[in-house]
Structures are given as C-alpha cells and as structure tokens.
C-alpha cells in the first residue's frame, strides 16, 4: 500500500541535483548573462544618484507633462518630493534603476521574440506553453533557481525581475502583429513590400499600440517583482519593507510601502499615457490593483486571454 508519509518520487532532490549540476557546469554562461545586466544597472543607478534630486524631480515632472498632461505631472512632482522628504530617496532610485534595467532587457528580448512568434506558428507553438507556465508560476518560485545560478544581490534580483516581466511583452507583441488587418498586409505585398518592409512599414507601426499595452504590463510586473527580490538581497524600497517586517518596525515598513505605491502609480500613469497616445490603443488596459493581484498568480492573464479570444474569432 502507498504510505502517505513516504516519499516515493524524490523530485525535490532530483531538481536540487539538476540545478546544482547546471550551476557547476554553466557558470561562465551565467556570468556572461549577469555582466550586461550588471553594467546597465550600475550605469543607470550611478547616473540617477549623481543627479541633484530637485533636478531629477523636475525632469520627471516635465516627462509626465509631455506624456500625460498637467494632472499626472503635478502628481509626479508632489509624490517624488514626498518620497525625498520621507528619506527613502536613494532606495527609490535603486528600485527605479532595477525596473529601468529590467525594462530595457525585456524590450531587447521580448519584442524580437514576439515578432518571431508572430511570424512562425512553430515558434509560437513552442513558446506559448512556456509562457503559460512562466505566467502561472508564483513569482517567489523564481527566486530559488536565480539564487542558485546567479547568487544573491541586486543584479540577480534584476535577472529575476526580467524573467517575471518579459512574458506579457512577448505575448502582446505576438498578438499585436498577428492582429494587423489582413487587408493592410495584402496592400503591403501588392505594392511590392519585402518581408522586412512589411514588418517595419506596416506590421510594427500597426501593432505598436498593443505592444505598448504589453510594455505597461511589463513595467507593472517589474515593479511588483522589484519588491519581492528584496528577499534575495536586492536593494531598494523592497528592502526597506523587508527590514521593517524583520524588526517588527511597522512604521519603517509602511514608509517603504508608501514609496512603492507612489512609484507604481507614477510608472503606470506614464506608461499608460504612452500606450494611449495613439487613440487606437485600447488593448491591455491595466490597473494598479490588477498588478498587485498578479503577485499571487492566477488572474493576471485575463486581459491577454480576452485579446487572444478576440483574435481567434477574427480569423
């Protein structure tokens, strides 16, 4: 008979052994993955830290004014001044650099992969189940292999953030390109477009609103994950919260939390504004609450499922 107290399939130790084996034999590979992330993170963080805070706040205010209008600009400036006054300025900058690094890497990886998926059903067939698993896996679970393969600290944290944040961008890019009106594609071909011209002149511009919607999702996921990676030693606002919790210092934890919420709202408004600049951008509406619900897995694919369903019914 099967004894419930007995382990018959020692999956845990198999995984342990496999990960250790990978860590031992592919160390140069992981070092080379780490290197560009490390450089980028330091460059961004360094730049932000040497910039006088008031200048930085003014620049952000102007950016918000340009992208999203007066109200968001005012909110941005007030929030950032508040963060400065709370004494969590450098932590906020670190979190911001973490997110910025992750976004850059996500764009570099995610958009080409999305394009590949849109052009090849086979690639999409392979990547789709992987993305499904990646997006349903709770974000905490990524921390373990990341620690084993990349160690602890802010840079491995950035790697974990990238892994969590990249799937929506791949999905939305794929959906956006596949959703381009067939007649526009035919028009491109009929007027003698090469494959490359078709992509750059017709598919990407038409898919841009959807891709930007995906970018908004990616930014919010990166925001959420940048807090969680405090558990593997990444610095920033997450660490403030974690330290507060560790010392039962409710006040400190709350201050960190406020900083995170303000940052998240600013980032959401800005990226949403970018996506909405084009009046046709209706895909990928997202809300802060949604982003935090995603933290616990499950419902974070609804918007995409809706998009995919509408796409299926169209073809």
């Amino acid at each position: 008979m099967l004894d419930p107290d007995q382990v018959y399939i020692p999956l845990a130790s198999w995984i342990q052994i496999a990960i250790e084996w990978i860590a031992d034999h592919f160390r140069p590979l992981f070092r080379s993955i780490r290197w560009p992330v490390d450089e980028l993170l330091n460059a961004i963080n360094g730049t932000l830290e040497v910039t006088p805070p008031l200048l930085l706040i003014a620049l952000f205010g102007l950016l918000a004014l340009w992208l999203a209008g007066r109200r968001t600009a005012l909110f941005t400036v007030v929030s950032l001044v508040f963060i400065l006054l709370l004494g969590i300025w450098y932590e906020t900058l670190t979190t911001l650099s973490l997110i910025a690094t992750a976004i850059v890497v996500c764009v570099v990886i995610g958009i080409p992969l999305g394009i590949l998926c849109a052009r090849s059903d086979r690639a999409w067939g392979i990547l789709r189940p992987i993305l499904d698993v990646m997006q349903t896996t709770p974000s905490f679970v990524y921390l373990i292999p990341v620690v084993m393969l990349f160690g602890v600290g802010t840079v491995p944290g950035a790697v974990a953030v990238i892994v969590v944040a990249v799937p929506p961008l791949i999905r939305f890019t794929n959906i956006g390109i596949r959703g381009v009106d067939q007649e526009l594609i035919e028009a491109g071909i009929a007027f003698g477009a090469t494959e490359r011209q078709l992509l750059w002149e017709i598919q990407l511009p038409q898919a841009l609103p959807t891709i930007l919607g995906g970018l908004n999702q990616t930014v919010l996921l990166a925001m959420v994950m940048s807090v969680i990676v405090a558990m593997i030693g990444a610095e920033g606002l997450g660490l403030v919260v974690l330290q507060g919790l560790g010392r039962l210092d409710v006040g400190r934890a709350a201050v960190g939390g406020i900083g995170i919420v303000l940052m998240a709202i600013i980032l959401d408004r800005l990226t949403q504004a970018v996506a909405d600049r084009d009046p046709r951008a209706r895909a990928g509406q997202s809300r802060i609450s949604g982003a935090f619900a995603r933290l616990f897995g499950g419902g974070h694919r609804r918007a995409e499922a809706r998009l995919e369903a509408s796409l299926d019914s169209k073809t």
């Binding site: 035919e186 028009a187 071909i189 003698g192």
Partner: protein, 353 residues
Amino acid sequence: MALVRAGKGKSEILEQTQAVVGVNNVSLKVPKGAISVIMGLSGSGKSTLARCVNRIIEPDAGQLLLDGEDYTTCTPGRMRDLRRRRISMVFQNFGLLPNQTVIDNVALGLKLRREPLAERHRKAGEMLEIVGLSEWASHLPGELSGGMRQRVGLARALATEADVLIMDEAFSALDPLIRTEMQDELLRLQTTLHKTVLFITHDFQEALRLGTRIAVMADGSVIREGTPQEIVIDPQHDYVAAFTRNVDRARLFDAASVMVETPADGQGGQFVLDDAGQVAGWSAPGGAPASGAYIAVRPDTRLIDIARAASRGRGPIAVVDDAGRFRGRIPEEALLAGIAGDAETMKGTRPDA
C-alpha cells in the same frame, strides 16, 4: 491537383482532401487599356482569382502572362518589381494605414520602392489632385468618408504608374449613391489614363456600367464571357440569365443594336438620302418628298434617350453617324422590343427588316 485534372467536382475534392478548389481552369485575356470585369457572387472565386493575378495567392497550376512574359514562377525579386511598377491594386475596405496621413498612404508604393521623400510627395500630390483630395493631404484616413477613402486607395494605386490595376470589390463597401459617383469617377479617369483594369464585383449592374468585357464566375469557373450587350442578349446559362432578367435594357442598349438598315419602312414612308448618304428628309406616304419631320439620333445613343426624344418629337427616327450619314432607322416596335428585352425583334432578326 491530380484530382482537378481528372475532372473531379469541387465538392468531391473537398470531401477527399479537405482542400477547397478556389479557381479552376479560368482562361482570360485582359485587353490593354480597357476595363475587364469579373462578376460573381461570394464564394465564386473571383477575389481568389484577382489575388492570383498579382500572386498574393500563389496559383497551384496554370500560367500568368503579362505582355507575353510568364511571371508565374519568376523570382520573388522580379515579382516585387512587377508589383512595384506594373500591377497595382485597390481593396474593398481600402487597406489604408490608419496612422499615416493621406499623402503618405498615397505614397506607399513609392516608399516601398525607395524613392526619395520629395519625389514621393510630389507624385502623391499630383495623384491627390487627380482624385480631387488635395486639401486633405495631411489628414488621417479616419477623418475621411468612405468614398473619399476609396479615392485615396485609387490615388495610391495610380501613384506607382502601374499600367495594370486590380480593383477587388473596390466600390462594394460604399453607399449606393457614392458607389455610382465612384463608378463615374473611374470612367472619367479611364478616358485619360487608359489603364488595364481588372475589376472584381458581385454587382451585375456595376459590371454592366463599367465593363468593356465581363466574365461571369460561378464555383471557381468562368461560365460566360463577353461584352455587356452580348451577355444580356444571350445569357447562354440559367445562372447568368438570373442576373440579366432585371437589367435596365433601355440604359444598356444603343440605337445601333435595334436599328434596321433600310431607309424605307415598307408602308410607303422612306428616308430620302442625298448623294453623300446624308438624310435629306422623310417622305411620308402620300406626302411631299423629303418634307416630313424626323428625329435624328447617333448610333451610340441609349434607348432611354431615344424613347425620351420620341415622346417629345413627332416623326420617324433616323440613326445618323457623326458625319450626318444615314446608318439606319428605328421602327417604334423595335424600340419598344429593345427596351422590353425581346431578343427575337432585335437587329437583323425581324422578318420585315
């Protein structure tokens, strides 16, 4: 393909291979400088055929010849070149890029063949002038009405100076009034541009208005091909006859198709001709020679206009050419028969002619 060659039916092939035969055994000559219409209902394969012509859909068999050049299997580079310079296309739902201005949309083909910006805008501007939308150049397509958008689509197709124009249901998405307006526009442009147009439509009236020649398609094959008048006089096919039954013949047929060539009407009246063959006058039975009033029409005058003239004026109808020479006369019953569509009484078949 083997099944098609073996002459199996469309439904049989669908059953056996899950493949749909889109277009089968269509052989068409599209004459230069004329509008050739392919008419068929949805599912008849007309749009598939149109897309085979510029190889957006690759035909599995057969040959495509342009000025004698077989481009069925040419290299992708050569095909692109043909699409950029020889064959252009107008789409049913316009196919305009919503995020680009009207002038940039018109210049699409020029951009794809990498012409410099100034050149593109100069040519596109000229085309917009031709279709009468110059002042809309910097607007987005979304700000235009359907008819205007299709003018942009037309300007885009003209901008590449291609001599072959595929128009796939180009006016089908437009309101009836706008559609008629666009048909007139196309006919007007055609008088100066003389493009070789392959026009796809499901609307028989549109086919009759535009077509120099019409091919009627059903189930992937052409079942009747000819000039509009030939098809209406003799549909040859029940399916085609169903379309021709309600045709307004008075607007389709002209004087030449109902006239009889003898000057005398057999009841004592006759047209008197002078030495040059011009009509000197009408001699009514018992009246003075060449003193009677008559109505003169051109050979290409439509029956509706002849009927209008006849109801206003008095006297017999003479058909005269541009030089005033007598070509024939139209007895009243021939005019009525022509309008009613009675093929027996048409030209040359009348017992008393």
